[in-house]
Symmetry: C2
Subunit: 325 residues, 2 copies
């Protein structure tokens, strides 16, 4: 299988690449080449098959990013929530025009590839009280979510037309993200676990009883690989899936942190930030993701496992990264 990862330098892109190199695809089909595309050329993992790294602009997508014989495209490239809110044109360009460019590139291939797209919980609203069903409408309260919901529509339509074979995953807030804080409004949900584990203080911009729909990087990678290999025949017109995340409060996250690293949560300081709170405050805190379960997306592990997975997978590299810069 020839696989491309757009956004291949990003954190999920690198994790999917590493997983493909290590274990191949979950259905046992052999990976024969991997192309990683991003604004800057992604790091290339050592692999038993050729791995190509390519830099460029998603909207002017070079043909080599999705070679003629590509079987699976992971489209993970995006301008994240707070950045798309701060710069309307940039968000629209990457999140919407970029998706159109990916559709156009897929149309040129000999056969329609599987296209795995990362949409987001931010494409919904409803806030703290919401418990959304699979047939709930997307009424986004931020430009990122609006662009993601629009891109889902275009990808479902492109699938119906046979240009590609899309599965859009509305990912929960990913916790714990490694590395540094980023421009996602949800960045602090990772920081309140990651920074204390590094011995660093960090700020919590919402109250401790704030509820959020989360998923671990490990689970997100599992879901992305399942989306790359599942049978889409049963999906009909609707190519979007809300995978089974966890609905947790900040207090529960900090309690799990303290189990793994006793006392660590003392490094988290509450300091309200209306700009951040107004974005994440609209995101639904809970979903009832029955369709994803029917389609074979695995259930989420508990919060303590989520914290331990970060320690096992990413803490050392994150610490190293901080020392180097």
């Amino acid at each position: 299988m020839h696989i491309t990862i757009l956004g291949g330098a990003g954190f999920l892109g690198q994790k999917v690449a590493a997983r493909l190199v290590r274990d191949g695809l979950p259905d046992g089909r052999r990976v024969t080449s991997l192309t990683l595309f991003d604004l800057a050329a992604p790091a290339v993992p050592e692999a038993a098959f050729p791995v190509h790294a390519l830099a460029g602009d998603l909207v002017d997508l070079p043909g080599a990013a999705i070679p003629e014989d590509t079987d699976i495209v992971f489209h993970l490239a995006a301008v994240v929530s707070a950045a798309a809110e701060a710069d309307y044109e940039l968000g629209r360009r990457v999140n919407l025009r970029g998706t159109d460019a990916v559709i156009d590139a897929c149309r040129k291939l000999a056969r329609p590839p599987r296209l795995v797209f990362t949409s987001s919980v931010a494409s919904f609203s409803g806030g703290q009280a919401a418990r959304l069903e699979d047939d709930s409408r997307q009424l986004p309260a931020n430009s990122y979510g609006a662009q993601k919901a629009a891109a889902e529509l275009l990808l479902s339509d492109a699938s119906r037309r046979g240009f590609l074979d899309a599965v859009s995953l509305r990912l929960p807030t990913i916790v714990v993200r490694p590395g540094r804080p980023n421009q996602a409004a949800s960045s602090f949900f990772s920081a309140i676990i990651r920074e204390p584990l590094l011995g660093l203080g960090t700020v919590l911009p919402v109250p401790r009883d704030f509820a959020v729909w989360v998923a671990s990087p490990r689970r997100a990678v599992e879901w992305l690989l399942h989306a790359a290999t599942l049978d889409t025949a049963a999906m009909g017109l609707d190519r979007s899936i809300t995978p089974p995340g966890l609905s947790v409060t900040v207090a529960e996250m900090l309690a799990a942190l303290d189990i793994v690293a006793p006392g660590a949560s003392a490094l988290v300081r509450e300091e309200s930030d209306p700009r951040i709170a107004s974005i994440v405050g609209e995101w639904p805190a809970c979903f009832m993701p029955r369709r994803a379960e029917t389609l074979g997306f695995t259930a989420h592990e508990g919060l303590e496992d989520l914290v331990r997975a970060f320690v096992a997978d990413d803490l050392a590299a994150t610490r190293q990264d901080r020392l180097l810069r």
Copy 2:
């Protein structure tokens, strides 16, 4: 009030213009100028205020199309259903990029204008058995509907950001359209009334018990003008409205035709067309439009009135048009 109609040469655009010239706005505010924009310069009605006609490409929207002091923009320009299905790029360009161009033009104005957008019943699916509620999801089964649903998302977001103040009307199939058959998959729903009234034969590509959600041009113009003047404060994040159309069968339409012009329905010949049937067969045949009623959109008149309105408003001009070409 300075008003612009994009798609001002189209059938609804011309009717809205004529109505503004004759009666002004329904809330009594005075119209002080009208700009009509389309691919070819629209016909200019005689009026007590200046009317400007302008030709151009929606995507490269000239500044003069939406002058600095514009209060209300009707964005009616579109590539219709069968045409957008036949030419993917053209539909995407006009229906999606065109809407982005309108958003960008509105952002440049001194104050955010009211933007009345025509979305469509084609942005839903569900078919003959569907009875959709106001909170039903849009799962379009054609590219036109996907592009319209995506444009609704962008306009709701642009409203939230304060770039403009949008009301998107998901118009039913408009019956009776004057003039000639067009590239809309729904064109035949008008032809089966219009052509027999002209003494001409026409083809029915679906069975007589086929149900469809319709509205008359008179009612559509009422709704568009109401959308231009209603208070949007109560609409929240959701700027889209399904107005109260009529759910009718082809047989009921032909019965109403025969009341107005006895025996006329004999000119309608059943001849199945799978291409047309596959598009219109996905459109929901019935909605429960409670939100529109709450927001003051007027109820629909009966089918016999709908046929008589075509005879009164459009039959003579349609006959004249056929003789001239």
